[in-house]
């Protein structure tokens, strides 16, 4: 089947760096350290880990109260992605939303109070009505007047899977436009959960660094608006980039640790490349998952070396943005596209010392010609996602501004 590159006509982002794609990318471009001691929630940990937290309430940006922070962040990103689309008329819009926590930021508080005081159950309606992830998607779908939606949750790989599913929904004609959104807010469950797994670096993550010991959690949202070629033309929107290929796989190795040789990651990347109709050598830059766990970073580079004869330059954005879980794939995809458009390979904040076991170092460039970027995301359950983004259509007729 010939490659089918789907235009991206809008993007949105919100992270610890701030609100808006440009603001977030400024931080990524400069390789800023975006982490600060956790203060937006009381995790109960003795030491507050450094996190990529968003202290400014997204409700103040939206100008109204929203059911929970995950939803509010998703709405902020979605609104920005749709900002250029002023008159959709009969074009059908779909939404694929990725989240791991959904409304649990409220329901976990309710559960804590319920454990202390059983009578608290009478407040169930107020606190748990929006617990389900589908409630987050519905809120976004309602705001953007979507014709339909899907809600997916595959841990840290979900955001990229949302992009891939949106591509397929455009290709099969279900929608003319499809918004892929990834959103997660920090929660007691996730902060304490990763702490219990001893996967958190309390001093801030150091991706690919010899001293790396774990992740730094973050919160945020990323949104990409995909369109059929016909819809993009009708709207008069020049594509900012294209979704060229999506690959998905499972490691079948362990529920939390990646396969040491990255076999599943290799499969996902090869699938994405095959769908994009390109050889590995066409990739100019890898936006790595790069979570800074000892296992992930080593396995990811090992997997990339197996796919690429010559390892392309790569970076991790986790120290700048935090690991935003389901949002990470979508949010970092937006940043990767910005990097592609600007012709830079961003620095990797937190990296300083070469690690022999990784055998490769992030390689920032202030000037690079980037035609194709590969974005990786890997999640619990051995879940792997890879998406190839292109700066132009396959036919060469579309020209990136």
């Amino acid at each position: 089947m010939p490659p089918n590159y789907i235009p991206i006509i809008g993007m949105g982002a919100v992270s610890c760096a701030g609100y808006g794609t440009a603001v977030c990318f400024n931080a990524v471009r400069e390789g800023r350290d975006g982490l600060s001691p956790l203060s937006v929630l009381d995790s109960g940990l003795k030491q507050a880990p450094l996190c990529g937290q968003i202290e400014e309430n997204p409700e103040s940006r939206l100008g109204r109260t929203v059911q929970d922070k995950t939803t509010a962040l998703a709405l902020c990103a979605a609104h920005e992605a749709l900002a250029q689309v002023t008159d959709r008329r009969e074009l059908r819009l779909g939404v694929v939303l990725a989240t791991t926590v959904g409304g649990i930021t409220r329901s976990e508080i309710f559960y804590r109070e319920l454990k202390k005081e059983p009578e608290h159950v009478r407040h169930a309606a107020a606190y748990v009505s929006h617990h389900e992830p589908t409630a987050t998607t519905a809120a976004v779908a309602s705001c953007v007047h979507a014709a339909g939606f899907h809600t997916i949750s595959t841990a840290c790989s979900t955001g990229l899977h949302a992009v891939g599913m949106a591509k397929r929904l455009i290709e099969n004609g279900t929608y003319d436009l499809c918004l892929a959104v990834g959103s997660d807010a920090l929660s007691i469950l996730t902060v304490r959960g990763f702490a219990s797994l001893m996967l958190i670096d309390y001093d801030g993550c150091k991706p690919f660094d010899r001293r790396r010991v774990g992740i730094s959690l973050g919160e945020g949202a990323g949104a990409l608006l995909l369109a059929s070629a016909g819809a993009a033309k009708k709207l008069g929107c020049m594509p900012q980039a294209y979704v060229a290929g999506w690959g998905a796989s499972a490691d079948c190795h362990h529920m939390t640790a990646p396969h040491p040789d990255g076999l599943g990651a290799q499969r996902a990347v090869r699938s994405a490349l095959a769908e994009a109709g390109i050889e590995p050598s066409a990739i100019d830059f890898i936006a790595a998952h790069g979570t800074a766990t000892p296992d992930n970073d080593a396995a990811e580079i090992k997997a990339m070396r197996a796919v690429f004869a010559a390892l392309p330059p790569f970076c991790s954005m986790k120290r700048t943005l935090g690991h935003t879980l389901a949002a990470s794939g979508a949010l970092e995809a937006v940043m990767s596209i910005c990097a592609m458009r600007e012709g830079i390979i961003p620095p990797t904040a937190g990296y300083d010392q070469f690690d022999e076991s990784v055998g490769a170092a992030p390689s920032p460039k202030t000037k690079a010609e980037i035609r194709y970027v590969l974005k990786n995301s890997f999640g619990f359950g051995g879940n792997n996602a890879a998406v190839v983004f292109s700066g132009r259509e396959t036919s060469g007729n579309g020209v990136m501004e």
Binding site: H150, G193, A248
Partner: protein
Amino acid sequence: MTFLPILSAGSVVPSRDPSWTDELPPPMKRRDARIWHLAYVASKRAMEKAKPAPRSIICGTALGALDETCKYLDGVFADGFGSPRHFIASVHNSMAGKLALEFKINGPNLTVCDGQNSFASAAAAVSLLNPDDFPALLVAVDENIELLGRLLPHLSAPCRQYLREGWTEAAVAFILAAPAEKSPPCLTAAGPAPCNGGEPQRCIRERMLATGLDAQAMMPIEATSGSFIQPAITAYELLAQQSRGDHVIGSYSPSSGAAAFVCVCI
């Protein structure tokens, strides 16, 4: 619409099948999450009836491993320490990940969470896979835990209308082949669409019309399913009973205000 041939199906409904845990491998029986057990047995039953083995997994679940989530938070709030085992299991896609691990299915692995529409949404997502990713294992699973029974009387009226007390928990699995011309047994599905305050049954009919199905000839059933997993149970039972015809199984989620459907052709 895209029709997905049904190669086989399996289910487990604990209230009707008290000895279902006998099919669990002893190590799994001792240590893993109960919802994983449900998904495993249903999938195993489906896979025993069909070759070749599936290459991908799409799981639909409304609440995921809620019991594990509660157990994890119990540890955090009561003891200041949550078990990592419970945290790992609490993640929505843990069932699909466990199935991949147990059955060595290394293709695409997605988990869809759309409330009572999860089965329909997951079935619609199957049609997005590449041809190489088939056969696909479509699993719907939801567990009913004691906490939900306590919460139900205090939830909003719409939630109480669409979730009956003591609702049946279950897991249902289908092995589906790549999209083809309609040839029973097969299924097709449409994912959630906002009802915008409209009546769910009407919303389902509009959805059917939008996707080209004859809404006059087919009466949607299970629009008020009363449980997260009932649409999948109904689809399985129709297939098991060889009920000839095209059956539209509608669903509605009060959490999202959206409706969806699966059409099973037998």
